[in-house]
Amino acid sequence: MSPLRERVVLQPTVHEKMLVGINQIVDALRPTLGPVARGVAVDSMMDFKPPEILDDGATIARRIYNLPDRDADVGAMLLRHMIWRIHEHVGDGTATAAVLFQAIYAEGLRYIASGGNAMRLSHFLKEGLREIDAVLAERAAPINCKEQLHSVAEAVCGEPQLAQVLAEAFHVIGEYGRLDVRSGGRETRHELVEGFYWEGGSLSLTLVEGHQNHRVSLDDAAVLISDFEIADMRALAEVVAQVIRARIPSMMIIANSLSDAVIGFLAHVNQQPGIKVIAVKPPHENIHQRAAALCDLATLTGGQVFAQAAGQTLASVKLESLGRAKRVWTDRLLCGMVAGKGDVHAVQQAFLQMRDAIAVEQGTDRQQQLRERMGRFLGGSATLWIGGATVPEIEQRKTLAKRTAETLRVALSGGILPGGGTCFLHCRRMLCDHILNAHDLDERAAYRILALSMQAPAESILRNAGYEPGAILHNIEHDLSQQTMFDARTGTFSMGETGKMYDAAVVLREAVRASVTSAATALTIDVIVHRKGYHKDAPPQNA
């Protein structure tokens, strides 16, 4: 590797080269925008592997991590960082944000080159962003039918069948419901599953063998909720005896492990009349998530959690501390329950607390965990079976389905806006009014730049579909009712609700927010300082 020296880069090189880097990233993402999008082939790092064909802006940007020109690389990495932040926050809208960023930055550079003040321009761009965000927030409407869900899904995944199946699933499970995406056969379909389930399955095949598909389903069960490693057969026998004396016909034991002797004991119990017992693993491998899951099970079933760490043992288990459920089941891989008999108010209270918590939670991982917990309380879930001709195709469609599902959740929580870049076009009238009313030159320039850039997403979508944007954008913008939209797939205009396309409001607002603030900040960069280091001949394995 060759060493690199520290270097200070000044104007006009800074602006020129940063724009070069930004343009390279945006030009790589632009073809993925819209319903008639193209793919981007990314060369594999291994010689023997074929290139990846990608259509997700964030993943494409992530694959570009080292432009040869160090000066251009600064602009590229700035944009790349913005794109990945958007992806982590809302999961979509990265290509839209990229074209907006490019338009704002390019127009901003032109103004600065003509003598404008970069700092003042940046300030007024951020003020204009507040106005745009207010317009978008006002126009955002909640989803009220399956067709709107289908429209949002299709805008993300581009596949009508997958969009239809996802829309049907989310029409039922809503924003907080659990959706499992699994590999299917040829056909893509969804299935609604009553109750909730988790991975783990039976603690012993002995307890489920002999049943069809190794699946055992028991009604009206007592539930022992614990993380015990049960080796003492006598202690467990006392608990089982309590259940039998209470004439409860079945029992589910949730425990970390069972010894061979205990398994043999339970197998013997199952052969006797009066009670049937299944033993399953608790949800989750992670300790913290497991603890939360066990607490949820206790709330849902009206039972109590028995934890080894708290010094509890089987001897402390009483009949009244066992949970109850209408039905419990297990097979080799999964186990679940339907209709826990916990206190309704406690269940509702727990659900509402989690719903309030998810609204303030920033991290997507934590939101995902809360959502999973809420899904348990809702009493059902959806499973999406992804079909395809080959395994790689199925895996690719699964990734697409998961991404689309996240966008649908965001749309359900934050509402929808007219898609296809139309909502940004509707902001131009407000921005043009500000241009007329502005007295300050920099302010007027900022609003002009924003007004111009609001056309960028729609222009890209139309050009990708092979249309000249001019007349189409004119028709859309000059409809005072703001109902006209253009469907790039069919090449037709639509008015009113029929054929209307939607995007998730949160995604669009985040895209415009990130692009304007990032571009405004980038315009104020006057000097680049390159640090001492080494020329990176071989890019790192994990970007």
Binding site: N144, K326, L378
Partner: protein
């Protein structure tokens, strides 16, 4: 005019009159010994289950008639363990069994049944069952319904469903696909009766906390100024609610009517508290002076008050 009586021998859980009751006098009554039909304004009744090969009376807790009964002759009856379905006005029946032998507490049918073929059954411990394709497809589905003890069910003209449970009122805007709790005060539960009208109005009758009304589809609830210390067995909304805003509230020993232009009035009252309680009512022709009011009691009596004599409630 004196009311006429036809004495039956069991509890009347519900009375269901056809829209053209004034012309043909056809109505149905769900009762302990089965589903009964009258074609003469309640004068005489015949048990539609008498030809079923059963060893015990078929306790029928509720029924639902197709909105286009004149054409399709379809009706459903809620019984223990499932729903009975007839496509010929009650001559022959087919059982749609539910799992767990649940007791059906309420049945509602879609206002667009001829297109959707959908109806919903609430049960005492098993939540809700969704029946599609005119009952051919049946599944239990309680997504978002925290309380599976459904005591009452109603559907609005725009197909919004409301379920009254032991702990409150739930609403579903996607045909039972998902439920959400409303802001009904849980301290006023259980909700024994529900009725939905046009314009997002919903009425909820409780066991001991009176009558509640929502004007916004369940978001906010107001307790109405009516007696609060008695259970409200049933609430019936006039088929002409848009004009008369007529509502009948069935208490154990009286029936109160409300009409837009003269407020609450008592149209039926049992002076002797030893009389069997009133359990249900039907307003086949709305709340009008000459309109009939059908009242069912706990000892199988169906009273056809041919002309409502109103006593204003102070």
């Amino acid at each position: 005019m004196m009311p006429t009586y036809n004495t039956l021998t069991d509890i009347v859980y519900g009375i269901y009159a056809l829209p053209d009751f004034a012309e043909n006098g056809t109505c149905f009554a769900a009762r302990t010994t089965g589903l009964y039909r009258s074609d003469d304004y309640g004068q005489t009744w015949r048990n539609l289950f008498q030809h079923l090969e059963v060893t015990a009376p078929v306790v029928t807790t509720c029924a639902a008639l197709s909105p286009s009964f004149d054409e399709d002759k379809t009706l459903f009856a809620g019984v223990h363990g499932g729903v009975l379905r007839s496509f010929d006005g009650g001559s022959t029946w087919e059982m749609i069994p539910f799992r767990n032998q649940s007791t059906v507490t309420s049945l509602v049918i879609s206002p667009r049944y001829s297109d959707t073929g959908a109806l919903w059954a609430g049960t005492s411990e098993d939540g809700l069952y969704l029946l599609n394709e005119q009952g051919a497809v049946c599944r239990r589905w309680n997504y978002g319904l925290f309380d599976w003890r459904v005591l009452s069910l109603t559907i609005s003209p725009d197909e919004t469903l409301y379920a009254g449970t032991e702990s409150g009122v739930y609403v579903s805007t996607n045909h039972g696909g998902a439920w959400q709790p409303t802001n009904f005060p849980s301290s006023a539960s259980p909700v024994l009766s529900l009725a939905a009208a046009s314009d997002n109005r919903v009425y909820a009758g409780t066991e001991a906390h009176g009558l509640y009304r929502s004007k916004d589809g369940g978001i906010t609830w107001t307790v109405l100024d009516v007696p609060r210390n008695e259970p409200i067995n049933q609430i019936v909304v006039s088929p002409y609610f848009f004009d008369d805003m007529g509502v009948a509230v069935v208490y154990p020993h009286k029936v109160h009517l409300y009409r837009r232009d003269f407020g609450w009035m008592c149209c039926y009252s049992q002076t002797d508290p030893e009389n069997p309680p009133v359990t249900c009512a039907a307003l086949p022709l709305g709340v009008e002076r000459d309109a009939p009011l059908l009242i069912g009691t706990a000892d199988g009596v169906v009273v056809n008050i041919r002309s409502i004599t109103a006593i204003r409630v102070e």
